[in-house]
């Protein structure tokens, strides 16, 4: 079980004054302090861990964020930033003595420049909201986390989120141009701009994926791209997870880069089919969703090559989506996959390890073996082309023993990822979930270097201090 740092008693003792201070800075409906109204903010997409915060602040502008930050800095109060609260690593998990700053009211798209292909949006704009805004002009924002419907761009920046189509277009870091941030002292700072590449040190690179530990992001300048002429998805069903894994490796090592290459195993196929009615092959043990894009000729050529490779692995079925509706249903199922697992299990832990694609068959086999050992079912749904695994460990949170087993199982999977040359997290962030495994990945010296960067931005460790670093390292 994950331990949280001891709340500061002297902060808890000043609770009423702190709340009154916040109320002086923000409109009445922007401060939540009653215990029962705080409870829904106690957790995010990782409900295994919960903690009611001291208060929740819901600023509507960067200036309000800055005012709250300056106040918290002055008062020595910890701060936990929160976007849509969809984190699967507990990135928005509060602390008892912390203020949660919710950024969902910063939900405006400030400007779109089609000539230079740049959009400036506030942190609380949803990922898909950017694409929805520009798609009629033939543009889109490329990184597409499965939670893109709900997750917010500020959170994407802080977790360096990926998504199915990042195989071709890169992750959040590769699609960012600038940020507006509020420092822990409450200062507003602009980083980067509407062009490549920013002058000076790569602050943008440093802040991307910093998990809310270095600053609060309030505005984001993203690159938007021209939509492709067209796209088509192929569904390839296989007899075993390992076979599908080997096929992924064969496709990638042939030099083809599909725009997306996604994997689902049998439990995932069935759960998603019940939700999306996408025509997934229910008789397959594993399914690959392989999408190509470009002109019709380009799609045909790539699909032909991919089909030839798939056929070497004795597929159960091979089908290409014929209409836009079919494609939409295929992606609806894939993107709703984690939620759809809610149909077959009351709770799950979602892992996020990344491995070299050549090790996929072996790692999938070992996860299957661990699943039998622990007696817990696993659904595998992941970005196979990137080697970014998402084993969903199914358990019953109403049974503490089951919860403990799930945690141990998850840790074993992540250790395996590191062992085969991969890493703990591909796109969900370390959060609290993988915090205590950081020393499997890093030496004490490496961790200390990262810790010193955190200290340079936030000497008092007020910003999201209980994440990323093992507690002992954080306290050092």
């Amino acid at each position: 079980m994950i331990a949280l740092p001891e709340p500061k008693a002297e902060v808890l003792a000043r609770r009423d004054d702190i709340v009154a201070g916040l109320r002086a800075l923000l409109p009445a409906d922007a401060v939540i302090a009653e215990p029962e109204r705080l409870r829904p903010y106690e957790t995010d997409g990782l409900t295994a861990y919960r903690q009611i915060p001291l208060a929740v602040a819901l600023p509507s502008t960067t200036d309000e964020v800055a005012a709250v930050m300056a106040f918290c800095h002055r008062e020595g109060v910890r701060v936990v930033p929160r976007g849509a609260g969809t984190s699967l690593s507990g990135g928005a998990l509060p602390l008892a003595d912390a203020i949660v700053i919710g950024l969902m009211r910063l939900n405006r798209i400030l400007s779109v420049d089609y000539a230079d292909r740049v959009a400036v949006v506030q942190a609380g704009v949803t990922n898909i909201g950017i694409t929805q805004r520009v798609q009629e002009e033939g543009f889109f924002y490329a990184p597409d986390p499965s939670s893109q419907l709900a997750c917010m761009i500020g959170g994407n920046v802080n977790m360096n989120s990926g998504g199915a189509h990042c195989l071709k277009y890169g992750v959040t870091a590769n699609n960012l141009l600038g940020l507006r941030i509020v420092t822990v002292e409450g200062e507003i700072v602009e980083i980067g701009g509407a062009h490549l590449d920013a002058a000076g040190y790569d602050w943008l690179g440093l802040l991307t994926g910093s998990e809310g530990q270095l600053a609060i992001v309030t505005e984001v300048t993203v690159r938007i791209l021209r939509s492709p002429e067209g796209a088509r998805a192929m569904l390839a069903g296989f007899r075993a997870n390992e076979v599908a894994g080997a096929c992924v490796d064969a496709i990638i090592s042939s030099g083809i880069i599909p725009v997306a290459l996604e994997f689902m195993d049998r439990p995932a196929i069935h759960a998603c089919e019940a939700f999306a009615h996408a025509g997934y092959p229910l008789d397959a043990e594993a399914l690959l969703i392989i999408e190509v894009e470009g002109s019709v000729e380009e799609q045909d050529r790539l699909l032909g090559q991919i089909r030839t490779i798939c056929e070497r692995f004795d597929p159960v079925s091979l089908r290409v989506a014929q209409t836009a509706e079919e494609s939409a249903a295929i992606w609806k199922g894939r993107k709703g996959a984690f939620g759809a697992v809610g149909r077959i299990s009351p709770d799950y832990l979602c892992m996020d390890g990344t491995i070299p694609t050549s090790r996929l068959p072996e790692v999938l086999g070992r996860i299957g073996a661990m699943s039998r050992e622990y007696g817990l079912q696993v659904a595998n749904i992941f970005h196979a082309g990137d080697g970014n695994l998402h084993p969903l460990i199914m358990f019953d949170a109403n049974d503490p023993a089951s919860m403990h087993k799930a945690e141990c199982f998850g840790a074993d999977i992540l250790k395996l990822c590191v062992e085969v040359g991969g890493c703990l997290t591909g796109e969900h962030g370390v959060g609290v979930e993988k915090r205590d495994l950081m020393d499997v990945q890093f030496t004490p010296t490496e961790l200390d270097q990262q810790r010193r960067i955190k200290s340079a931005f936030d000497p008092g460790w007020l910003l999201n201090p209980h994440k990323v670093f093992p507690l002992a390292a954080a306290a050092a």
Binding site: D29, I32, E34, E36, R37, R39, P40, Y41, T43, D44, G45, T47, L58, S60, A84, G85, T86, G102, M104, R105, N107, G124, T126, I128, S147, L149, A150, C151, A274, F275, G336, A337, F338, G339, A340, V341, G342, R343, P346, D347, Y348, A397, N398
Partner: protein, 442 residues
């Protein structure tokens, strides 16, 4: 998601049901993004996931509802957009219905609010009372801006008066109990729910439905004893009046179904359709014959667009060149998952059909919501009107009287889908299109 009910609590079938629903939720948060109140208010407490958490807490504690919980549950439109979005299949509707009943049973609202809710629950489901009230409101309507006060109650009263139509249509004889014979060879036999508020506000909707169906060879029965579907009181958490209304309908329809037989119970007010289709669930623990009747009637219930798609519809005259913006009522698109049929029928009738951006967001009508939460309802109305206007339609079609009333007064006329379908198949042009058609002719 983890829950915390005692074995004793779980012996209560209502709590057991809610526990099952809560256990389906994995707290992924997808629902927040498509919730109208979250989009407007930017507070998770005004999102489905936040409400689910508040409700979970309230039900687990077993105590009476408290003001903060009531505030956020009251702000829920019951538009069920979250149920369309939810990948896990969480039955939010049944959960929030349970919460509303719990609130109604355990929470004492301020007196003026209690009075208003009781008056609405008394008047709206009873056409003759509604007619009387609207006549009175019509007299008071011009003076509504003189109503003093900025409080919620004053806002509500002003909203109530603003919703009253300037001119009340005369009652329609077609809606009283009778059998409308099929023209030509009879192909089917259906009962029509004539609704409560709708038959007073817009009798032309039932008239068009009856004309079109009988012309297509369907016998349309208006059974005696049928009344409000119960949705209005059900959504206020007033369980018993809702069940009584449902029982009256079940008795009336079952008599027909067991007598000469029914192919369907036709509903042309989608808000009611969602509820009638849920009778089976509402009566799941009731004794026979009610449980069986409710199951059978829920299975027979169909939106008129669903039924027309099944029996086939074809226009008999060329359509005028009109662009129709189709407004998807939440009860149709989310409550009943009917999204394709109305648009396909309108296209079949010859119209150019366009859809607004953010079609999944509620217009703010939501039963009595526009009277109880006027500030939010008005913002949603304005947002919907702007999205509709952006498509430059000649008119807007919807399948629910609530939406039609809520969106009236904009820059374009509103009609029920069925009025357009009837028009193109031999019926009269909808009266509300008069000025538009006159301008076209000139």
């Amino acid at each position: 998601m983890q829950t915390n009910f005692s074995p004793d609590q779980l012996r209560d079938p209502e709590l057991a049901e809610s526990n099952t629903i809560l256990r389906t939720c994995v707290h992924c948060g997808f629902c927040t993004a498509t919730c109208p109140t979250f989009v407007l208010l930017g507070d998770e407490l005004d999102s489905p996931r936040g409400r689910i958490y508040l409700i979970k807490d309230m039900l687990e504690s077993g105590g009476p509802a408290t003001e903060p919980v009531v505030r956020h549950v009251d702000r829920c439109l019951s538009c069920l957009s979250c149920m369309t979005t939810c990948p896990s299949g969480v039955h939010y509707m049944h959960l929030v219905d349970h919460a509303r009943t719990h609130i109604e049973n355990t929470y004492r609202r301020p007196l003026p609010e209690r009075v208003l809710r009781s008056v609405l629950a008394l008047v709206l489901p009873r056409p003759w009372l509604m007619r009387l009230a609207l006549l009175g409101a019509g007299v008071a309507r011009p003076f509504r801006s003189l109503l003093p006060g900025k409080g919620m109650m004053a806002q509500r009263l002003r909203a109530l008066l603003a919703l009253a139509p300037r001119r009340l249509p005369p009652p329609s004889a077609a809606q009283s109990p009778q059998v409308h014979r099929a023209e030509g060879k009879r192909r089917g036999r259906v009962a029509l729910l004539t609704g409560c508020a709708q038959q007073v506000l817009a009798p032309e909707i039932n008239e068009a439905t009856i004309r079109l169906l009988t012309r297509l060879g369907i016998e349309v029965v208006i059974p005696r004893g049928m009344g409000c579907c119960g949705a209005l009181t059900h959504h206020m958490g007033k369980h018993e009046p809702a069940m009584a209304a449902a029982r009256a309908n079940l008795a009336a329809w079952s008599a027909e179904a067991e007598g000469e037989g029914l192919d369907a119970v036709i509903i042309n007010t989608s808000g009611c359709g969602t509820t009638v289709k849920d009778y089976g669930f509402m009566f799941r623990a009731e004794p026979e014959p009610w449980r069986g009747r409710a199951e059978r009637i829920s299975a027979l219930a169909m939106d008129v667009s669903e039924y027309l798609s099944r029996i086939g519809y074809a226009p008999t005259r060329p359509a005028p060149a009109l662009t129709v913006a189709y407004h998807a009522a939440c009860s149709l698109q989310h409550g009943q998952k009917i999204t394709v049929e109305p648009k396909a029928l309108l296209r079949r009738a010859g119209f150019t059909v366009v859809e607004p951006a953010e079609g999944h967001l509620c217009c703010g009508s939501a039963g009595t919501y526009n009277m109880m939460q006027p500030a939010i309802a008005t913002r949603l109305r304005e947002r919907k009107l702007a999205n509709l206007a952006a498509r430059r339609p000649d008119l807007v079609a919807a399948g629910n009287i609530g939406c039609i009333t809520q969106l009236s007064g904009g820059d374009f006329p509103l009609v029920h889908t069925i009025e357009l379908l009837d028009w193109m198949a031999g019926g009269p042009a909808p009266a509300s299109l008069g000025p538009l058609l006159a301008a076209r002719a000139a």
